[in-house]
Amino acid sequence: MKKRKWANLKESAIRAFFLTCGILAVLVLIGIFATLLATAVPAFKEIRLSEFLLKKNWDPTSPEKAEYGLLSMIVSTLMVTGGALLLAVPIGIGVAAYLSDVAHWRVREIVKPIVEILAAIPSVVVGFLGIVLFGPAIAKIFHTGNGLNALNGSILLAIMSLPTIISISEDSLNAVPQAYGEASLALGASRWQTLFRVKVPAALSGIIAACMLGMGRAIGETMTVLMVTGNARAFPHGFLGSVRTMTANIAIELGEVPYYTTHYYALFAIGLVLFVMTFIVNLAADVILRRYQEREQ
């Protein structure tokens, strides 16, 4: 009897513990969002929202006239992220298809953990590679004099988002019912046709979700981009020009900004814009994944 009671007590204690953990995660998210919102809103007492989102010049410490135009940085962020996806998506899907359908199981057992280790490399180290390896290479190939540009940032972010894209794409390719592939092969389709006309379309929603999660990773990355894009404030001149992303700007300016000034609030407003962007991307990925799982059932 006593033992039973003890077991029940333990059971409810464990349940309470997990409930607290769950609630805590939600509370932290709400807390972050509320803080961000509360610290960002005062910025708009002095900055017009239209100016903030549509003007190109950002120079809060200017001795002439402080300017708070975010457009250049929004475009820079989208450019670097878009470039990263352009590079990472084809490679990522290719590797995932290879691992799930072509590779010998022994090769797969070796390659997949290696891909996942790639995700564990600290971003500073990736940035360092960009400075000493990709930067000089880009400067030489395109005769740009320096490699501090959006292309360099895109290459590094592509490397950093590859593990996410490969790992989730491969999982969703593996989740395609075997009958699909067998039916296709039985109808006389080649392995290549089966892979790219049957399996990849069947796993498409999973693959799209993988790419969006990879994109979420790329948008929010700070250190790597800060190290290799040169951080010029001008509106981007193209992939071979220096750009400054929103994350890099926050990292550069937050250290020295006097607290509770318009500049300080404006940096949090940038954080809010970034939060909204990553939230939309993650939400879209989640919706697509869910739709896909429902269809599977």
Binding site: S62, G145, N146, G230, N231, I252, E253, E256
Partner: protein, 298 residues
């Protein structure tokens, strides 16, 4: 069960008594200018080697970071490669901080280009025009037809602010200037980029053997067009003010420095400290600055 509790409490009591009894070793926290961080770190190391019991931690982060640190009382000494702005002094007084300033060294801010650039001399106004983005090609100054590639510091840097005030005439930097993390990163970029121009403290021009870094060219600066140009590495020119872009480097404390801080600052301003300043590529301070330091120590 009870036994465990007793043991646990006893251990805790023992641990806390040890922690409380241990003499709290007081670290002097120094924070600020990236231009000064290497110099002050070496000064601190030499000082600690000679003074038993002294403990000094030196951090970079930029002059703005150090000044904010002193105002928010997260450090004991703020390094800055520029004077404090009146706004910052007001902020400090509002919080009950009464900053006192000590001049540590004198820095000649040097304008550097890649050695393949044929330009030898510029006026202060020409450098300003480059950094305001008004001149986009080296041809305008008689150079090759290479596009100008601007390198500078980030806005938390005292060097950034000093350049903006003294050379750009309080005008905006060109938005095309690449904003780098520190002096060393600017130097590395200039070594690669043939159209580059950058500004760095003189201490960063030298390699470990004390020679000027290979691949760099230091521009001689004149006040007037066709005037005599001077190099920032020329001590006499910096001392006499003939080299136009020079500046004192400051350390600031809250009010009269405490004994351990005061001893360190006195040593830095004395012959031993100043010898290290010179060895590290900066210039020693003159009698006027020494007098100012002595006055502020009391």
């Amino acid at each position: 069960m009870k036994k465990i509790t007793v043991i646990a409490i006893a251990t805790l009591a023992l641990l806390s008594s040890i922690l409380l009894a241990a003499p709290a070793k007081k670290m002097i926290q120094v924070k600020g200018s990236d231009t000064m961080v290497n110099l002050v770190q070496i000064l601190a190391e030499e000082y600690m080697g000679k003074t038993p019991g002294a403990a000094i931690a030196v951090l970079g982060g930029g002059s703005g970071t150090g000044i904010t640190g002193l105002i928010n009382q997260t450090c004991d000494v703020a390094n800055s490669s520029r004077e404090w702005k009146p706004k910052e002094i007001d902020q400090a007084w509002e919080k009950g901080i009464k900053p006192r300033f000590f001049v540590t060294a004198v820095d000649g801010l040097s304008i550097v280009v890649n050695e393949k650039n044929p330009i030898e001399q510029l006026t202060v106004a020409q450098v300003g025009a480059l950094y305001r983005g008004e001149v986009k090609n080296w041809k305008a100054f008689g150079g090759s037809g290479m596009a100008v590639s601007l390198y500078g510091r980030q806005s938390n840097s005292g060097t950034y602010v000093f350049m903006q005030e003294f050379v750009l005439g309080n005008k905006n930097y060109s938005a095309d200037m690449k904003e780098m993390n520190g002096n060393a990163q600017i130097i590395e970029s200039i070594l690669q980029d043939e159209g580059a121009v950058g500004y760095v403290g003189v201490g960063y021009l030298y390699d470990q053997t004390g020679k000027i870094r290979a691949g760099l060219k230091i521009i001689t600066i004149s006040k007037e067009p066709n005037g005599t140009g001077y190099l920032p590495t020329d001590k006499a020119a910096v001392d006499s003010g003939n080299y136009p872009i020079s500046r004192p480097l400051y350390m600031a404390t809250n009010g009269k420095p405490k004994t351990d801080v005061a001893q360190f600052l006195a040593w830095v301003s004395g012959p031993e400290g100043q010898a290290i300043v010179e060895r590290e590529g900066f210039f020693a301070i003159g009698p006027a600055h020494i007098a100012q330091n002595d006055k502020n120590l009391k």
